[in-house]
C-alpha cells in the first residue's frame, strides 16, 4: 500500500506558524539545560527536525509546551547516547557533573571581588542540578511553572517546591558568603 502523501505546503505553513516564533526561547532554554552553546544549538536543531516531522499531528494548542516536551525527549536521547550511566540515577549523576563544573573559588572572596549579582550567580551554580535547572528556567528565563514542568518532565508542584527550596538555599548561601550586611545586599 502506498504511504499517505504528506502535504508539504501545510507542513511548511504549520512549522512557520508554530515553531519559528519559538526559536529564540528554545535556544535560551537549551542553553540553560545543556550549559554549553554548541550543545544548545545542536539540541534546538534536533528539536526543530522532530517538530517538523510531527507538526501535522500537532493540534495547534500550546506550541511552546509542545516544543519543550519535544526538546526534553531529544535531550534525554542525547544524554543516553553520550553517557549511558546517567540513566541509572539521573539526579545524582547530574549533581556530580554539576559539581565537576562548579567553581571552587572561595565564595566570600568572589563576593568582595564581583559584587552581589556575582554572589547570586555563584550561589545558583553551587546548587544541585535539579534545583539549579528550575531556577534557571523560571527566575532567569521567565518560563511559567507549567512550561518548566514540561521541559523537566515533572509535575508543576515539584517545580514549585524545588524552586522554593532553591531560593532558600541561595539566600543561605548569600548569608554565609557575607553578601548581606544587616540583611541588605552589600
Amino acid at each position: 500500500m502506498a504511504e499517505p502523501q504528506v502535504d508539504s505546503s501545510t507542513q511548511q505553513a504549520a512549522f512557520d506558524r508554530y515553531v519559528v516564533p519559538e526559536i529564540e526561547v528554545l535556544y535560551r532554554v537549551a542553553r540553560s539545560i545543556t550549559r554549553n552553546p554548541t550543545d544548545a544549538e545542536d539540541l534546538v536543531q534536533d528539536t526543530m527536525l522532530r517538530a517538523y516531522k510531527a507538526i501535522l499531528r500537532f493540534d495547534g494548542r500550546h506550541p511552546r509546551a509542545w516544543l519543550l516536551t519535544i526538546m526534553r525527549n531529544a535531550q534525554i536521547n542525547r544524554v543516553r547516547r553520550r553517557r549511558p550511566e546517567l540513566l541509572r540515577d539521573p539526579d545524582a549523576t547530574m549533581d556530580r557533573l554539576a559539581d565537576e563544573d562548579s567553581d571552587d573559588a572561595d565564595p566570600e572572596a568572589q563576593v568582595l571581588e564581583r559584587g552581589y549579582s556575582a554572589a547570586v550567580e555563584n550561589a545558583l551554580n553551587s546548587l544541585p542540578e535539579k534545583f539549579r535547572s528550575v531556577v534557571q528556567l523560571v527566575d532567569v528565563q521567565a518560563l511559567s511553572y507549567q512550561e518548566a514542568a514540561d521541559i523537566l518532565g515533572v509535575p508543576t508542584g515539584t517545580v514549585m517546591s524545588r524552586l522554593h527550596r532553591a531560593r532558600t538555599r541561595i539566600r543561605k548561601h548569600l548569608e554565609q558568603s557575607g553578601a548581606y550586611l544587616n540583611g541588605r545586599p552589600t
Binding site: E41, M48, H164
Partner: protein
C-alpha cells in the same frame, strides 16, 4: 495557577508562620488576591517577614537581570536551519 491551599487561608490576619509558608508563592503572584492583601499588610508591619520578603525579591530580580541576551548569531543560524527544513 493558584494553589488550593492558599485559597482556604482567610483568617482575619495573616501571622508570621502563614506568611513564611506562602511568601515565595506571593512573590510569584501565585496566591489568591484576598490572601495576598493580608500578606501585604503583614509585611508592612512585621520587620522580620518584611526583610525576608525584600531579600527574596532582590534575589529574584537579580536572577532575572542575569539573563544574558540570546546569542544573535546562534539564533540567526537556527532560523536559517528552520528555513532549510521547511524549504523556504
Amino acid at each position: 495557577m493558584i494553589r488550593r491551599r492558599w485559597r482556604r487561608r482567610l483568617s482575619s490576619e495573616a501571622n508570621c508562620r502563614e506568611v513564611g509558608r506562602a511568601l515565595q508563592s506571593y512573590l510569584d503572584g501565585d496566591v489568591e488576591p484576598d490572601f495576598a492583601a493580608k500578606i501585604g499588610e503583614h509585611l508592612e508591619k512585621c520587620k522580620d517577614c518584611g526583610l525576608a520578603h525584600s531579600t527574596y525579591k532582590e534575589i529574584k530580580q537579580t536572577l532575572a537581570d542575569s539573563a544574558s541576551p540570546a546569542d544573535t548569531d546562534a539564533v540567526a543560524r537556527l532560523r536559517e536551519f528552520g528555513r532549510q527544513i521547511s524549504g523556504n
